[in-house]
């Protein structure tokens, strides 16, 4: 390479009027490449991608592995105290000054050794000890220096119960009617496997009675009461109609009471039967061995994790997922499943779709095909685009004030006067939530549909007109079919947005616990006035309103994973659809 560029590149040499010669550089300087700035821009992109990846990995990792059965450890402290449970996590911390000196001598010595080894920090572990009915706590922090020994007893058993949370222990006895029939862990386990199926079936039966039969009786009773109240409202308390209706009501009340007693009797029978079988486990409390008695009928699932093979653990894992997806929550939502939330989310999203798609398409058709293009239409278009950016909580405020308090209250006045002052529609419910979200997602559908309509080439419309088709025929046969993928994209994006939105739902009907699903077997089957559970609200509620937030943590992560999976799947589908649409129709972008 020559160092004199002028000689090689003769052409660019020009002589300016002033007589000076300008050199044209062949090589751009290092500075011109802007390498440092380029790295900063690339770093920003890398950081953004890192953040997404980190977040997804965190959620997926936590969500996937929380249901995997971990080992049960028995920790013996230097003080002789023992405890049995699952190690949830470990961390390092800096002790308060002087805290070590206050310890017992052997512990202090261990702590000092550890402090020296780890630069002034100590380790501790959070152990889930369960047995809330005995110990009064679900978790316990244990510092590493207190630990003298840690073993994994083969027969340590984890019992998931319907109430009081988990029980950890070593089975000692199986009692039937108070008599001990098995005394070794093996024998107890044998008995458990033999009898648990029947007990579980009885529990299912009891539950069916409680929610199904009693629900029906209560419903009938409520209907009768409302009928009487209606008569009272219409013709007064001293009318002949009321006099005729009251004995009828009393009769029905009597019948309901009898039916209730029958069901109650059956439930008692089941309870008595279930109470016959008990498992006694040894657990630790305050350094002593304490027996924990578990009724067989209360056991959701029990297993000895330390004895399980990989396949058996996989079985427990799958069964826990099944429970999570298909069962109702228990223990203040921190255990059990999220089926009502999945169902509530689905019902709400579907109703929302039924409302938002037709109206969104109508509005888009009007804007794109029927309205005369002009200032007003473009202003309306800008306004609609803007509404997509209006905070969702604002729609929630509107939904509460307009749908619940005005429309709903009017409906109550007109149709459900008998139930007042208890609101029927005058309160948050799945219908109002759906309508609110429909309003919220309307811009999404309108914009997507408009885009799709605009993408249909005008030549096709003109061809259709030239063949003599009327406008509606053209729209229906030519334009709409071509725009269908775009409309679907809009719908799916709206569903994704609706499924993930929580803020407005907090105002218009999402509930912590909704005892009844919005869709059930009692006439009229769909109950649009009912409150409902929602996956997103479930996350908020579990994470921030839960009494036992540490125990609820795994549930929050799995629910989060589920919600992200649903929303991401919907979004990916929409992106894929849009890409296909673009390939098909769009010639120029933007």
């Amino acid at each position: 390479m020559s160092s004199d560029p002028v000689r090689i590149a003769a052409a660019p040499v020009r002589t300016a009027p002033g007589g000076w010669r300008r050199r044209v550089k062949q090589r751009s300087t290092l500075h011109a490449h802007g390498e440092p700035m380029l790295w900063l821009t690339g770093g920003a992109l890398g950081l953004a991608l890192f953040m997404i990846a980190g977040l997804l990995v965190l959620v997926v990792w936590q969500g996937i592995f929380t249901f995997w059965p971990g080992a049960l450890v028995e920790v013996t402290a230097r003080s002789g105290e023992r405890c049995l449970g699952e190690v949830v996590r470990r961390e390092r911390y800096t002790p308060e000054p002087g805290a070590v000196d206050a310890l017992a001598p052997d512990e202090a010595a261990a702590a000092r050794r550890e402090l020296e080894a780890h630069r002034g920090q100590l380790g501790r572990r959070l152990i889930r000890i369960g047995n809330f009915d005995i110990t009064g706590e679900h978790f316990r922090w244990l510092e590493d220096f207190r630990v003298a020994a840690e073993t994994r007893p083969a027969w340590a058993v984890l019992v998931e119960r319907t109430s009081w949370g988990r029980c950890y222990g070593i089975p000692r006895a199986f009692r039937v009617d108070g008599e001990v029939v098995a005394e070794t862990p093996e024998a107890v386990w044998e008995k458990y496997r033999e009898l648990h199926g029947a007990a579980r079936a009885r529990r299912a039966r009891r539950k069916a009675l409680e929610s199904g039969d009693i629900g029906r009786i209560n419903h009938a009773l409520e209907q009768a009461r409302l009928g009487l109240r209606k008569v009272e409202l219409e013709s007064g308390r001293h009318s002949a109609a009321w006099a005729a209706a009251e004995p009828r009501f009393l009769q029905e009340q009597e019948a309901a009471a009898q039916a209730f007693a029958r069901v109650q009797e059956e439930i008692h029978t089941i309870e008595r039967e279930n109470a016959r079988y008990q498992i006694v486990c040894d657990t630790y409390h305050r350094g002593q061995i304490v027996p924990a008695t578990v009724m067989l009928g209360d056991i959701v699932r029990a297993f000895a994790p330390n004895r399980l093979s990989f396949v058996a653990k996989l079985g427990v894992y799958v069964s826990r997922w099944r429970e999570f997806l298909c069962d109702e929550p228990r223990e203040a939502n921190s255990e059990g499943g999220v089926w009502p939330a999945i169902f509530g989310t689905a019902v709400m999203t579907l109703i929302m779709c039924l409302v938002v798609v037709p109206f969104g398409v109508l509005a888009a058709l009007y804007l794109r095909e029927y309205a005369r293009a002009g200032f007003i239409v473009s202003a309306v278009r800008i306004a609609v685009n803007n509404l997509a950016g209006v905070p969702s909580i604002v729609f929630g405020v509107f939904g509460l004030g307009f749908f619940c308090y005005i429309i709903g209250a009017s409906i109550d006045q007109l149709l459900f006067a008998a139930r007042l002052p208890n609101p029927t529609y005058g309160n948050g419910g799945v219908l109002w939530a759906s309508l609110t979200l429909a309003l919220l997602t309307l811009p999404v559908v309108i914009v997507a549909t408009e885009e799709a309509l605009a993408a249909v080439p005008n030549s096709m419309r003109e061809g259709s007109y030239a063949c003599g088709a009327a406008k509606w025929q053209t729209v229906r046969r030519i334009v709409l079919p071509r725009a269908m993928p775009g409309i679907m994209t809009g719908m799916i994006l709206a569903m994704a947005r609706g499924a993930g939105e929580v803020a407005p739902l907090m105002l218009v009907g999402a509930a912590k616990v909704a005892p009844d699903l919005p869709l059930d077997g009692i006439f009229p089957y769909l109950h649009p006035e009912r409150k409902f559970m929602h996956l997103g609200f479930h996350i908020y509620d579990l994470g921030f309103q839960s009494q036992n937030s540490e125990a609820a943590r795994p549930m929050v992560f799995t629910t989060t994973l589920l919600l992200i999976a649903i929303v991401a799947a919907l979004n990916l589908f929409a992106i894929w659809l849009r890409a296909r649409l673009r390939r098909k129709f769009v010639t120029g972008q933007f």
Partner: protein, 863 residues
């Protein structure tokens, strides 16, 4: 003309009837449906306005209503007047100790009974808030008790026959009270109930001149001034005798050292505060003394002040609801509100002084009566020229004014319990005004300017909409919430905007097409993440994590860019063929620099904590230890870097470029690295110098942009909100950049510009409009984001720039409070106003962004 027919089928030239009808119907349906849908969207804003606007409707006060019979029947100058909540009945107590019960509609007296037939009453005190009364007698005894309205619904059989035919809303009289037929058809009997406890001694045998009482958590406390000049405070304790089962009354009290307070005759007013801990004694000339009576056995003089420094004389002194604020009326029409505030350097034993907090607009003539509502801080004041004014104590605003029918002054005044009427008695009888106060607490001044709330030391912006206490003063300052919204937006934009824009530039300009097709949907996917997920992660994962490793996190914010820059300068050192060969993999190297930067932060953070923050950053932030230098240094480091970069760009770089133009690339790269290292050292020196200088000046960053660390804070929110706004800004910005026509780039590259020069000088300026609108839309999203701030910001409504403190935004406030707000209450409407504010903010931002975007789009089409 005949058309040739080839098919033999007659050709139809007209559309069929069904087609035409269908076409008409569909056009109609689509037009109606479309317009309806659009209108329904716009309905949102209309509805918000419709709910929020009544907040600002003025208070209405009707012309005075004068019942016909009221003129002569009632006592002309009673001591106290009270009205029931349905505005049917009233009672008054005369100076002689007679109770009169009367109908409000006609003024007809229903009952007149002497309360104390065998004793002579000489003083009385009334409390509208809890219906409590206290009477003092000529023999020096005191009786406490209650006079209250009662309501009972009659059974059909109890209703006298002549009243059975009452129409709804009709009134009738029967023994024991007034019967009202309710709209539901029930018969409601109303009356007045008097419960008086047996006399208790006041500690002196002289006639009682002044009396006041209050009920504290421990029991009643009363203050009595007797004619012999003795002022005593007594706390009444009721005790059940275990043997007899009777309640015994025990008095604990002491004499107030009035003599020590100076001469000037006996005091004209004696007032005891709601908690019974302060006794005020005032004279007509404006002198007031405050005694501490927390221990009633030993009252202590706290301070002496002058309520009326001018010649004016006090004519009326009464409590506002809650018995904490004294309302003072004078003979020139002036009216003011006084309460205790804490002041630096005062000599009172409790460090507090009675302060004039509210000065109302004066009336034309002397104040004759003041009545405060039992529900809010609404006050009615009557003047000697017959004027009656409605005032709000919180903001010292005059809400409405009227005049008595004949211009005679009112001797007593009452505000109806539901604040729907004001009733007064003048020498010529009863005067009543219908009032519709609507929402007095929520004026523009109350919402957006600092207000002096009861018990606070100065005017302040405070949001506190509810409390457990009945006599709670609503604090509806929206500014803390607006501030919180701005704080969240600012910190999240500070983090999000640079990353999003830079990432978009890299994607659009330097990334291979195929990689771009993968990267963009991935970032867009992040845009679809439900914000509740982000909020949950922010609150329960990031916040505790950041709290543990705060120094490392802060160091990483500085080290990551540094690592990238170091990487870039090292990359320049590589021989050209090598960089060319690996240029496709450059992004991998860039990505590898990130974890190195984070690692460097993790190592350097704790070290910096030891060096700069006395080993404990959080204790340093609390202000417990360390000097200000470390903090200033860290805060000023970015500034130092910017200054250095600017200085280098302006002075050193042109010279450097000229000087190295003739050199080969490698030595230039080495020199460039040296220049960079010098720059870093310079930046550090500048920051250190400034930090030392500022510390030397005695300034400390703690208490302003940094301060006490709270787990859920603006740092966490800013970071996590980045997840929400980065994808949005990124997508729109990337769209704008890739929309720049390819021929512009080709021309620039063809003219010899490097890709970087092309990006900076051609593409970015052309796409500026699109980038701007991207930032605006990101801003709109940050303003309205609810779940993240709800879960990660701690929700404390504070005005504090501290990066490590929480805040409450408008949106989170709505989510927290609206479910509990009573429909159509002031609180409810204020929350709607907050929603409307949010709506307007985002709507304006988005409209600006959209218009800029459209303009930009037109321009880029023209190119």
């Amino acid at each position: 003309m005949s058309t040739p027919r080839f098919t033999g089928r007659a050709r139809q030239y007209r559309s069929g009837a069904t087609v035409r009808i269908l076409d008409r119907v569909s056009r109609w349906a689509i037009t109606v449906g479309g317009i309806g849908t659009l209108v329904s969207i716009l309905l949102v804003s209309v509805f918000l306005i419709w709910v929020a606007v009544p907040l600002f409707f003025p208070t209405r006060m009707s012309a005075p209503h004068r019942p016909a019979e009221g003129a002569a029947a009632l006592d002309a100058a009673p001591l106290h007047l009270e009205v029931d909540e349905h505005r049917r009945l009233g009672w008054l107590v005369t100076r002689e100790g007679t109770l009169e019960v009367f109908r409000l509609d006609s003024g007809r007296r229903l009952e007149r009974r002497p309360l104390f037939p065998e004793a002579e009453m000489t003083a009385a005190a009334f409390s509208r808030q809890d219906d409590r009364v206290a009477f003092g007698f000529v023999d020096g005894t005191v009786r406490l008790g209650r006079i209250a309205f009662w309501v009972r619904f009659l059974r059909e059989a109890e209703v006298p026959p002549e009243l059975r035919s009452l129409s709804a809303g009709g009134l009738g009289e029967m023994a024991g009270g007034l019967v009202v037929r309710t709209p539901e058809g029930m018969f409601r009997l109303q009356g007045v109930d008097v419960e008086l406890e047996p006399p208790i001694p006041s500690g002196s045998a002289a006639p009682v001149l002044r009396i006041d009482q209050t009920v504290t958590a421990a029991g009643p406390v009363y203050a009595v001034l007797t004619a012999d000049g003795k002022l005593r405070v007594n706390a009444v304790e009721e005790r059940e005798n275990l043997l007899t089962g009777e309640t015994e009354i025990e008095l604990a009290g002491g004499e107030v050292p009035l003599a020590a307070a100076g001469a000037g005759g006996l005091p004209d007013f004696v007032r005891i505060s709601g908690l019974g801990d302060a006794l005020y004694v005032a004279w007509r000339d404006g002198r007031i003394q405050r005694f501490l009576t927390r221990d009633p056995r030993r009252p202590v003089l706290a301070e002496t002040r002058d309520l009326e420094p001018g010649p004016a004389r006090v004519t009326s002194l009464s409590w506002l609801l809650g018995r904490f604020t004294l309302l003072v009326g004078n003979d020139q029409g002036g009216l003011s509100g006084w309460f205790l505030t804490r002041r630096e350097g005062v000599s009172t034993p409790d460090g507090r002084v009675l302060t004039r907090a509210h000065t109302f607009a004066p009336g034309a003539a002397a104040v004759t009566a003041i009545a405060s509502s039992a529900r809010t801080r609404l006050v009615a004041a009557a003047h000697a020229d017959g004027e009656v004014r409605l005032l709000l104590a919180t903001t010292a605003a005059e809400l409405a004014a009227s005049r008595t029918a004949d211009g005679r002054p009112l001797a007593v005044l009452a505000v109806a319990p539901r604040e729907d009427a004001v009733v007064g008695i003048s020498a010529s009888g009863l005067n009543a005004w219908e009032v519709n106060a609507r929402h007095p607490e929520a004026s523009l001044a109350a919402l957006f300017t600092p207000v002096w709330y009861e018990g606070h030391d100065r005017r302040a912006h405070i949001w506190q909409s509810s409390s457990g206490a009945d006599d709670f003063e609503m604090k509806l300052g929206l500014m803390p919430l607006v501030f919180g919204t701005l704080k969240a937006t600012l910190y999240s934009l500070l983090f999000g905007v640079p990353i999003a824009l830079l990432a978009a530039i890299y994607t659009a300009e330097f990334m291979h097409r195929r990689v771009r097709m993968l990267v963009k949907p991935a970032v867009e996917l992040m845009a679809g993440l439900p914000s509740v997920v982000l909020g949950f992660l922010a609150g329960l994962v990031f916040a505790p994590f950041v709290e543990q490793v705060l120094p490392a996190v802060l160091a990483a914010f500085l080290m990551v860019p540094l690592a990238l820059l170091v990487g870039a300068y090292l990359w320049q050192l590589l021989p050209a063929p090598l960089t060319l060969r690996f240029s496709g993999w450059r992004f991998v190297f860039i990505a590898a620099a990130l974890p190195l930067g984070i690692l460097a932060g993790a190592i350097l953070g704790p070290a910096a904590e030891r060096a700069l923050f006395a080993g404990d950053l959080r204790a340093w932030l609390d202000g417990q230890r360390g000097s200000a230098t470390g903090g200033w240094f860290v805060i000023l480091l970015p500034l130092g870097a910017l200054l250095t970069a600017a200085g280098m760009g302006a002075r050193i770089n042109p010279w450097f470029r000229a000087a190295t133009a003739a050199l080969a690339p490698r030595p230039v790269a080495v020199l460039d690295l040296v220049r960079f290292i010098v720059g870093v050292v310079l930046a550090v020196m500048i920051a250190l110098g400034l930090a030392l200088g500022l510390t030397g000046l005695g300034m400390d960053p703690r208490g302003s942009v940094v301060g006490t660390y709270v787990q859920r804070n603006a740092l966490v929110v800013g970071f996590v909100m980045g997840f929400a706004i980065i994808p949005i800004i990124y997508t729109i910005a990337e769209d704008a950049l890739s929309a720049i026509p390819e021929h512009l780039r080709s021309a620039s590259l063809g003219a010899g510009a490097t890709p970087w020069q092309t990006a900076v000088r051609i593409v970015i300026p052309t796409a500026m409009g699109g980038l701007f609108s991207a930032v605006m839309i990101g801003l709109g999203r940050a303003v309205g984001e609810t779940m993240i701030v709800l879960m990660a910001a701690g929700n404390t409504p504070l005005i504090d720039w501290n990066l490590f403190n929480g805040f409450r935004t408008l949106s989170a406030n709505i989510a927290v409070e609206l479910p509990e707000a009573v429909r159509n209450s002031t609180h409810y409407r204020t929350l709607f106003l907050a929603a409307l504010t949010l709506f307007a903010m985002t709507f304006v931002l988005n409209t600006v962004a959209e218009i800029v975007r459209l303009k930009f789009r037109r321009r880029s089409h023209e190119l």
